[in-house]
Symmetry: C2
Subunit: 430 residues, 2 copies
């Protein structure tokens, strides 16, 4: 790429702004455009936004934690002071205790637990520490669209791997690794990104055996540099039936391959915005250094509040309550899908047992993209969805442009029903 | 630099972790090491930390704002939900109103105001949007050490420019630009970084005429690509005598050169952690895109709290109170310097009228560095300072290794006095 003054007429270029290559790589996150679409059309029923259910946000619990925290002037003052880059000691201890209570973790120390501004920031910091421009992350096709943007912003590449009803397919992963090795690009592969619990966007829950096979593949294929597995466990707490599956960390016996990203954003409050990472020892320093250079540590008040929420036992109560709530919403969406999508030829959808999303596949000839006929017809019918194309990598598995992500997080059961009916009508039209 | 598998024995490299170049560039912020020094020696009087005064943190004000915010369940819920990437609309409006009340701002719109996790994050985002590896930022020598780390982390270069008692010297700046042009590196210069109010570390307050000359130089020398002026105005509110100086933004008539970074961390609470930036229009999209890819927006609760603090008039009250408090502390430090440093040959120090720091220069043969005799002698005497060497760029003006930053932010007047006495004793010994 020709950049800089030498490439251009010296008069024309005077005073011109050249953004950094990084800034040139950064596209706006497509989801932001959809959100403003929703904001400017307040009557639209958005099945697009990844927001959480508004009425059930923990107002009471947060007020209780705040008043307990501020009842002690020493604690209150400490919460208003700077914290440290890796995060609030007490909160980190409580998070680690929860991780240990949930899973039999192999040797792990508190130094390996870093608090971040949501799990998104952890994903960014890890990507920043692993990826140079041109490096590769292997992802499910489809996968979490914001992470694809994060990878692209670094000038790195995401590469889509085939999935089935249990998520990313290990055989397909191995074929992809073989293919990249043949192309002389294996040393470029730095990570495999998974959303094992109630995948965003597909809703798929990955069995532990499959996670274990993927971690084993990552280890076996680390012949020209370490391949990490980034397990984004943001939705783990949002299970509405069945039993919990152990974390990807439990199948990493040496503790040197798996990075876990967790968060209280979905399970408690995205406005408090506390996420965390469990890192292999060799990533602690690079990731903390990145954080030190970006924001010098997450807001201490949010961390102290969240520590109080955990200490007072308010978290488990709240999660139980929102689980029941989301379970009803999921049931509404699935019932509406059966009723309104069922009669439509060639329309299929996932039936998740947790998370916030279902994933629908339409007949091949229907383009769900933002410039396609369906997107416009849907807006005319008063409903918004996330076009599935955003959830695919540029390389690897081809984009399935006849897909969509539908969220049941924000809307009421009645609005979900109405939205699904409107969407079915739009599909019928197209 | 030889990296990647081709450079090495294929057996030896199996499963080896290669950090990204970015991660290789990232040093730990030196200040973090000093902080842990302080934490492990609780009896040390730290004149090093850049923390704010703990007893005067706004416990009462924050509790009032919280209880007002949470008295309205709709507002409370909104504060616990996701926000938007550029920040909370009401807060941004209030910040812009404050900026407009303080200064006669040329045409500026709310889109140009972005909320960040402290002003540090704004500085990072702007640096990320402007700088490629090898690009140059011109800085005062000495300057804010954390910003030097941020620049280095990007693989970019900071270049120190001579200063006098009014800060960065315009003539020296022009000479530096001429020198870089002769070396064919002018197109690499992307920004000039200033801390116009009560500079960290020197305490210097820059007159507006000087800021104006620097902005004019930036504009005139933007012949092979735009040179921005980044005005870090973090300490503006911490003025203890004299009258306020207008913002650097006021001398940027086209509004396309100056970036202003502001924050409530020093003036209200670093634990709430709300900073902001005023951006030229062409930087809004790149900087917001970076933020979108890093954390998707700062914690909404912090922003809603800060908006309430401003709405309820709690901010101005608090600032008046802490100004009086810091004024006493500054007076204590200056009186102690007169008393204990005065008798020492060749010891000089600044006499700021605001901020949190004084800057001391010792006789040339005394090395203040962390491996020098003084640093150890000071710890033996029970006092910690920031070695001045951390505040210098690798290029340009040479490091003055006989300097130190002394903070009066954290310690009480009595401790400041004791600390200065101990430090003078250590200097006398060395």
């Amino acid at each position: 790429m020709q950049r800089g003054p030498e490439a251009m007429n010296p008069v024309a270029i005077a005073n011109r702004f050249y953004p950094s290559r990084r800034a040139e790589c950064a596209a706006g996150q497509p989801i932001s455009a959809l959100m403003s679409q929703a904001l400017t059309n307040p009557d639209l029923i958005s099945l697009a936004a990844g927001f959480v259910d508004q009425p059930s946000l923990p107002v009471e619990e947060t007020a209780q934690a705040f008043s307990e925290l501020f009842a002690d002037p020493t604690l209150a003052r400490a919460s208003l002071q700077y914290g440290t880059t890796p995060g609030h000691e007490d909160l980190r201890g409580r998070i680690l205790d929860r991780c240990r209570a949930a899973d039999e973790l192999h040797a792990i120390s508190i130094d390996q637990l870093l608090v971040t501004a949501g799990s998104n920031q952890l994903l960014h910091l890890v990507a920043e520490s692993l990826l140079d421009p041109g490096d590769i992350v292997l992802c499910a096709a489809p996968t979490y669209l914001v992470f694809l943007g994060t990878v692209a912003n670094l000038g790195a590449r995401s590469f889509g791997v085939a999935t089935d009803e249990q998520g990313l397919v290990p055989e397909a992963l191995e074929e992809t690794l073989e293919q990249l090795e043949r192309r002389g690009e294996l040393h470029r592969v730095k990570a495999i990104y998974l959303v094992p619990y109630f995948d965003n966007p597909s809703g798929v829950n990955m069995p532990l055996e499959r996670v274990a096979r993927i971690v084993e593949l990552a280890r076996r294929w680390s012949t020209s540099g370490k391949i990490h597995v980034i397990a984004d466990e943001a939705y783990r707490e949002l299970r509405y039936s069945g039993t919990d599956v152990p974390s990807a960390r439990t199948v990493d016996e040496n503790g040197d391959t798996v990075v876990v990203a967790g968060t209280f954003s979905k399970s408690f409050s995205p406005g408090i915005r506390v996420g965390w990472g469990l890192l292999p020892p060799h990533l602690v320093e690079p990731v903390c250094n990145q954080k030190g250079n970006i924001d010098f540590g997450s807001p201490n008040l949010s961390q102290c509040l969240m520590a109080k929420v955990l200490e007072m036992g308010l978290f488990e109560q709240h999660v139980a309550r929102i689980r029941a709530n989301y379970q009803r919403k999921l049931a509404s969406m699935l019932a509406a899908a059966d009723e309104y999508f069922g009669p439509l030829d060639g329309v299929r959808w996932t039936r998740p047992t947790g998370g916030l999303y279902i994933w629908a596949t339409l007949p091949e000839q229907i383009d769900t993209g933002p410039r396609g006929a369906l997107f416009e017809a849907a807006i005319d019918q008063g409903v918004l969805y996330v076009p599935g194309q955003y959830a695919y990598s540029n390389e690897g598995q081809p984009v399935q442009s006849n897909t969509m992500r539908l969220s049941f997080g924000v809307q009421s059961c009645q609005q979900i029903r109405t939205g699904m009916q409107s969407l079915a009508r739009a599909i019928g039209e197209v």
